[in-house]
């Protein structure tokens, strides 16, 4: 699947997405991630054929699909609200895309039962969507996509309506499902953790433009700009002027990015090269504590041991792992 400088400009000149270019290999799991309104859902709709790009070329399986209806594109989609057909039972919901495609009844039956068995829905085939729990509805929505065996699966925030506990479980199931099917998955989410854990590659979008396309590891280690750096990783990366940490700037007008694990925090006697500050906030996370330290009016988050002894106002010192620094242009936000 290829997107070549695809743009969608709405009437009144509002740009949904601008010049998005993307190559997705067969069988790849690609996430589109960004804050709401960044254009990730629009991009998915463009791929599905629910919206038409105003310019640019879209190819699926080497064929230009601009102007083709969703039906002719052979992609399936799982929606955030699941969008199950409430007047049909689970069996008819699963059968719906096959019925529309005009498949013979006997084969529809086989496919539906096969898919239901795969997802553990066999017991629920006679139920209506209203009689299902959130997790069950989610699986029916997934089943309705699977049953077609399409070229690609599109997911529009499929987990965001689930309870937190269930979400992690389904996330794991989705990843296993992708391994088993070997199909192309395109996955839209605003949750950086979902994008990180699931994807082969992540497309970070902001204000309708692609910021960076890279593997989750690469995004974390080498973000293309301060937006990407700030979007990935919890706690957030610290972005401060270099002098705050007593660092020599390699150029003019630069900002330094330091991950929380690249800082070492201590109380009492400071070693040489350390900067001094005061503890601003301590957030125990169980296995560790996130400590916010105020240095020179700037706040930095540090990963500290779970038994960290300081509290708000305690004087503390920080040292920096100089290998782990990332430099950004303070004006443009671009990585240098």
């Amino acid at each position: 699947m290829t997107l070549e400088r695809v743009s969608k400009v709405y009437r009144g000149g509002v740009a949904g997405v601008r010049e998005v270019s993307l190559d997705v290999a067969d069988g790849e799991f690609v996430s589109l991630v960004g804050p709401s309104g960044c254009g990730k859902s629009t991009t998915l709709n463009l791929i599905a054929g629910l919206e038409e790009p105003t310019s640019g070329t879209l190819r699926i399986g080497g064929v230009v699909v601009n102007g083709l209806s969703p039906r002719e594109r052979d992609v399936a989609m799982v929606f955030q609200s699941y969008a199950l057909y409430p007047h049909l039972d689970v069996r008819r919901n699963l059968a719906f895309p096959l019925e529309v495609a005009g498949m013979p009844r006997q084969r529809i039956r086989e496919r539906v039962e096969e898919t239901a068995a795969l997802l553990g829905l066999t017991e629920l085939l006679a139920r209506r969507p209203a009689e299902l729990s959130g997790g069950q509805r989610q699986r029916v929505a997934l089943g309705r996509a699977l049953v077609r065996r399409p070229k690609a699966f599109l997911f529009d925030e499929p987990l965001s309506n689930l309870d937190v506990g269930l979400r992690a479980q389904v996330r794991g199931e989705l990843k296993k499902l992708h391994e088993r099917l070997g199909a192309t998955f395109i996955y839209v989410t605003h949750d950086q953790a979902e994008a990180m854990t699931l994807s082969d590659r992540v497309v970070v979008m902001h204000a309708g433009e692609v910021q960076q396309v890279a593997s989750p590891r690469e995004l974390y280690l080498r973000p293309a700009n301060t937006f990407v750096a700030g979007f990935f990783g919890a706690p957030r990366i610290n972005l401060v002027p270099p002098e705050v940490l007593g660092l020599q700037s390699p150029g003019e007008g630069l900002e330094v990015g330091v991950r929380a694990e690249a800082l070492t925090l201590g109380l009492g006697e400071a070693p040489p090269g350390a900067v001094r500050g005061r503890v601003y906030l301590v957030e125990p996370m169980g296995s560790e504590a996130w400590v916010t330290v105020e240095v020179d009016g700037h706040r930095l988050v540090v990963r500290a041991a779970a038994d960290f002894g300081g509290s708000s106002g305690t004087p503390a010192w920080l040292t920096v792992d100089r290998e782990a620094l990332q430099w950004f242009d303070a004006a443009t936000g671009k990585r240098v």
Binding site: R71, Y82, Y85, P86, A130
Partner: protein, 268 residues
């Protein structure tokens, strides 16, 4: 336990709405000699009903009304539902303008349109036919249909339409197979309103129809007077008979109207 004021209010409302109807029922059952007597009748008779059903081609008139109202309702819903779907779910330029324009049509006072419509119907050969009533009825009921159904379609989540499209439906298939079944309660409600409108319409029915065999109920009842002296009992009996189909319709569809078919479509 309901409080006393609630009961009083309920009683007052029931008297207000049902009082005239009950009075009409009583009038229809009074012997002719007692028609102007005050209070409850001393004897009941079905004479008026017998006279209405037997002495005049009343059943034929009811049939005319049924045909006109049913045809109006069906054509109104067919046109209205597909148009409302497009207005609610498809993007095309000028759609809000279209809804406004539809409303403007319904603002014309019917009396102002009688003469031009009469000429128009005569020109196309529909004067004095039941079809000549269906066309203007459907035209005048369409704006209301459009507004009601558009709001029903708007209540359905957009994702349902988009899911149907991705599942391979053309826009029309998505309308027919997914959205239309979900607005059935809305169709029933709207249909009843259109049906009642055409069932009760008087002005056009009086003007466009000249042959007695093609009259509808309101016109037929109004013409009872003058043939005899003052056939109050028969008029009352005919009104009761004319109201019954509406009551039956409403009761039949009540469950449809109330039920929330869309439950479980999406979370929430």
């Amino acid at each position: 336990m309901r409080s006393v004021p609630t009961w009083l209010l309920t009683a007052a409302l029931l008297t207000f709405f049902l009082g005239p109807f009950v009075w009409q029922v009583l009038t229809s059952l009074r012997p002719e000699a007692e028609l102007t007597a005050p209070g409850l009748p001393r004897a009941l008779t079905l004479e008026a009903y017998r006279s209405v059903l037997g002495g005049r081609p009343f059943l034929h008139v009811v049939l005319n009304s049924l045909v006109v109202a049913t045809a109006t309702t069906i054509s109104c819903l067919a046109v209205g539902a597909s148009a409302a779907f497009a207005l609610a779910k498809l993007r095309f330029p000028g759609r809000s303008l279209l809804l406004g324009a539809a409303l403007a049509v319904s603002m014309f006072p019917p009396i102002a349109t009688v003469s031009p419509l009469y000429l128009a119907l005569r020109a196309v050969g529909l004067r004095d036919t039941l079809g000549g009533l269906v066309v203007p009825y459907a035209t005048f009921a369409l704006p209301l249909t459009l507004w009601l159904l558009t709001s029903y379609f708007r209540q359905l989540p957009d994702e349902l339409y988009r899911a149907a499209r991705v599942d391979g439906c053309t826009p029309f298939q998505a309308f027919r197979r997914v959205l239309l079944p979900l607005v059935l309660p809305g169709l029933a409600t709207t249909g009843i309103l259109v049906f009642i409108f055409s069932w009760n319409e008087f002005l056009y029915a009086l003007t466009f129809i000249s042959s007695p065999g093609k009259r509808t109920i309101p016109v037929a009842i109004s013409l009872f007077a003058g043939e005899h002296a003052e056939p109050f009992a028969e008029i009352a009996a005919a009104s009761i008979l004319a109201t019954l189909p509406l009551v039956v319709l409403t009761v039949l569809f009540q469950r449809r109207i109330v039920s929330g078919l869309t439950a479980g479509a999406v979370k929430g």
